[in-house]
Structure formats: structure tokens, C-alpha cells
């Protein structure tokens, strides 16, 4: 029997003031799948990702994380579910008063009974994984944009979560750093975490890391499928998006 989806959304709607961002979004993310949610700026991709992790409440619809309905749970009730997931923010959202080491160690110190030695070993393993060994004592202000992103990824992965949510992991990076981050995420799929939702507007990056793609347009998914299926799609919005001609509503 197929395992139940780790993330499931059904007819989710969300408005801010009079602007309806999501107009009935549904999706199911099975274990072992990386889904790239794509769309233009302002299409609602980040809002969707935040709803999936319970950081934003939808106006209506159902949201399940690890099989538990979360859309009306209180903050304290969602916390145990969030500990099983990782979230990489677009701007990395590192704690600016903590060093790189302390940022990555933060989830371990909060949620595990590991000794200092075990925490140190784990942090160093993930710093090496993201290609930043020896940066323990640096503060976030001393890092470049690409380094901050990679520290953010290490922090999200250090607890070895069951699913990771990436919000625009390559946005604002130069091509070299964007490529490094893309290769890192592709590499992670083989080891640390095989299930993820990646929000991006970068088609090349999505094709590199995802085995499912979904295009968000006018508050709904225009289409969902494998990269190959999307390229064959007859949907006019999909074709326009892939051709770089789709305008946000």
C-alpha cells in the first residue's frame, strides 16, 4: 500500500486585505518526491510554502502535515510537527547575534539531548556538507549572500528532517553560487533528505532538483507534472511560463 502523503493541501484559499493570493490550491507530496512550485513574482509561492509549514493560516481549505490537519491548530500544537520539517528562508533568516556554529547548533540545543561534543560533530558535518568548513565563528553579517543561504540550508537540515521546504534558494545569487546551491540540493536528495518542496522561478534550477513541477498562476496551479510532462503540456499558461511570457495577475 502506498504511504500517505507527507504534505497535503485541499482547496486552500488565502487573501490579504482585498487581494486574493491563493484561490483553491490542492496538492499532495509523497515521500521521496521533490516538488518545484514555480510562478512569477507575487504569484503566491511563498505564501503557499508558509501555509504548508503552518506559519500562515489559510482562510479556508484543508492543510495536512505528516497526516495531521494543521490549519486550525494553535501555534504550540503545530511545533512538534514543524520539528520534523526543515524550512530554508529566501533571505536565510539567520539569527544575527549568533555565530555560524550557534545558528546551526540552535535546533539541536533546543530539541535534542545531545552532548556538546555530539553537537559540535554534527554541526561540522553539515558545515562541510554545504561547503563551509572553518566558518564556525563568523557572524551572519560577515558572510556573503551565497554563504548565508548555505548556512540557512545547513540549519534546516541539521536535525535530519523528513521534509524540507526551500523558499527561493537561488534568488539573488550570482550564477556560480546559484549553481552551487542547486547542486547541493540535488545532492541532498540522495542522502540527508529525499522529500522537499522548492519554491522558485528559475526553470533551469527546478529541472535540476525536482521530479515534479507545479506552476502557480492566478492563485491556482495551472498544471502539475514531471519536467518532461510540463514541457509537453498544452496548457497555454504553462507554455507561456516556460517561454518567459507569463505575466502575474
Amino acid at each position: 500500500m502506498a504511504s500517505p502523503p507527507l504534505v497535503e493541501l485541499s482547496d486552500v484559499r488565502k487573501s490579504f486585505a482585498t487581494h486574493e493570493v491563493l484561490r483553491g490550491v490542492s496538492l499532495a507530496l509523497a515521500k521521496g518526491t521533490t516538488l518545484a512550485v514555480m510562478g512569477g513574482s507575487g504569484a503566491g509561492k511563498t505564501v503557499l510554502l508558509r501555509i504548508v509549514d503552518g506559519l500562515v493560516q489559510p482562510d479556508s481549505g484543508r492543510v495536512s502535515l505528516f497526516g495531521t490537519r494543521i490549519e486550525r491548530l494553535r501555534e504550540e500544537q503545530i511545533l512538534p510537527l514543524r520539528r520534523r520539517a526543515g524550512f530554508v528562508f529566501q533571505g536565510a533568516a539567520l539569527f544575527d547575534s549568533l555565530s555560524v556554529f550557534e545558528n546551526i547548533a540552535f535546533p539541536l540545543r533546543e530539541h535534542s539531548a545531545m552532548s556538546l561534543g555530539e553537537i559540535t560533530d554534527r554541526v561540522h558535518r553539515f558545515l562541510s556538507l554545504v561547503g563551509l568548513p572553518g566558518t564556525d565563528d563568523l557572524l551572519p553579517a560577515e558572510l556573503s549572500g551565497g554563504m548565508r543561504k548555505r548556512v540557512g540550508i545547513a540549519r534546516a537540515l541539521v536535525t535530519e528532517p523528513e521534509v524540507v521546504f526551500f523558499d527561493e534558494p537561488t534568488a539573488g545569487l550570482d550564477p556560480t553560487n546559484a549553481r552551487l546551491v542547486a547542486e547541493l540540493i540535488a545532492e541532498l536528495r540522495k542522502g540527508v533528505c529525499d522529500t522537499a518542496i522548492v519554491v522558485t522561478h528559475d526553470i533551469e534550477f527546478a529541472e535540476l532538483v525536482a521530479d515534479q513541477m507545479a506552476i502557480l498562476h492566478q492563485g491556482r496551479f495551472a498544471d502539475i507534472g514531471t519536467p518532461a510532462e510540463m514541457h509537453r503540456s498544452e496548457n497555454p499558461d504553462v507554455r507561456k511560463f516556460l517561454a518567459g511570457e507569463l505575466r502575474a495577475s
Binding site: L79, R83, G86, F89, D96
Partner: protein, 259 residues
Amino acid sequence: MTALAYIRTQSRETALWYGGLGLLTMSVVRNLALPPAYLWLVAREIDNIGVRSLVVAVTAALFTGMVLALQSAVNMARFGAENYVGPVVALSILRELGPVLTAILVGGKVASGITAELGSMKVTEQIDAMRAIGVNYVKRLIVPRLLAALIVFPVVTVLADGVGLVGGMLISVFDRNVDGYLYWNTISYWVVMRDFLTGVIKSVVFGALVTLIGCYNGLATEGGTEGLGRSTTATVVQVAMGVIISDFFLTKLLLFLFW
């Protein structure tokens, strides 16, 4: 904008602010008993708030006591009651000026600092990052500050009370030639424990109020660094107004309960 539209907007924003503050208070109360205790954070905040506030509170109290003694002595001399400066200074400081001035000065300083810190975390998504990691941000960021304020405010107020009384004595003895023994003797005769405790109870309530205002304004910050500036300014004004207004109702309540 017409006057009516302005009133409508302001009323809505005020209702939202009070509602938000009430919800945060409920959330804090709900989280008080939840693990983990974060006692090391409470200790750190006691150190932060106490160190930040001590010099301001004590200096203000010293000069307030001196001014009170000066004004009272000059005016009471007209009725031949200069010897009663001590109780007048003591009652004013212990019941009102000690807790209120401390709350306004220390509260404004501490609460604006809290707003700036939490607001900065909010606009840079650090609070969302904490939530995404599965950390209870109310428990980690707000409860320790509140518990620290509940301890620090009464302690600082008691210190300010003492310094204020000493300030009053300095003026009475060295400027108005009132006998020092008489100053303390009339205080101990006329001032009762209830007067002292009234002020301490007020300081506990003010500590909670200013901390919650500081935390709420920080968490409600929107609009980047400009919004952060607005929130911090609003905190200073709201703390002063909140202390003054709540002081009236607290005084009424305490007089009703203990008089």
C-alpha cells in the same frame, strides 16, 4: 481625510491594538507553565533589565525626593508644619512617585529596547525562523522578559523609594534645618506597611504592562526599518500613557481593597 474618517481609522487601529495586546497576554499566560522553563534566559534578562535601569531609576528618585522635600518644606512652613516634611515625602514616594516614575523611566527604556530587538527579529524573519525550527517563540522570547520584569521592577522600585527618602532627608536636614532624627521618626510614625506594599504591588503590575507593550509592539512591527522606528517611538508613548492611566485605576482598586 475627513475628521470622521480619521476617527474611524484611529478607533479601528486602537481596537486592533488592544485586541492584539489582550491575545498576546492570553498566549503568555497559557505558555507560562509549558516546558522548557528557560531559567537561564530569565536570569540573563534580569541582568539586562536591572543593569539597564538602575542608574536612571536611582538618579530620578534622588532628585524627586529632593524636589518634594524642598517644595513641601517651603510651603508647609507657612502653616508651621515643616517638621512633617518626612511623612509627606515618604507617602508621595512610596505610594505614587516611586512606582510611577520608575515604571515610566525604566519602562520606557526597557520596553523600547525590547520593541527594537523583537521588531528587528520580526522584519528580518528571525522570529519566523524560530517558529519554523519548532521553537515556541512566546515561551522563549516573551515569557523570560516578563518574568524578569516581574522581579526587577519591584526591586528597582524599592531601591528608588529608599534613595528618594534619603534625597528628601538631605534637603530637610541640610537645606531646611529639620532634625534628621525627627525626619525618620515622623516617617516611621505616620507611614505604615500598607503604604509601602501599595507601591510594590503597583510596580509589579507596571512591570508586566510595560513589558507586554514592548513585546507586542515588537512582534507587530511591519514595514522594515521605517516601521521599526515607528514601533519604538509608539512604545515610549504608550508605556507612559499606559502607566499613568492604569495608575489611576490601580489606586482606586487598592484603596478599595486595602483602605
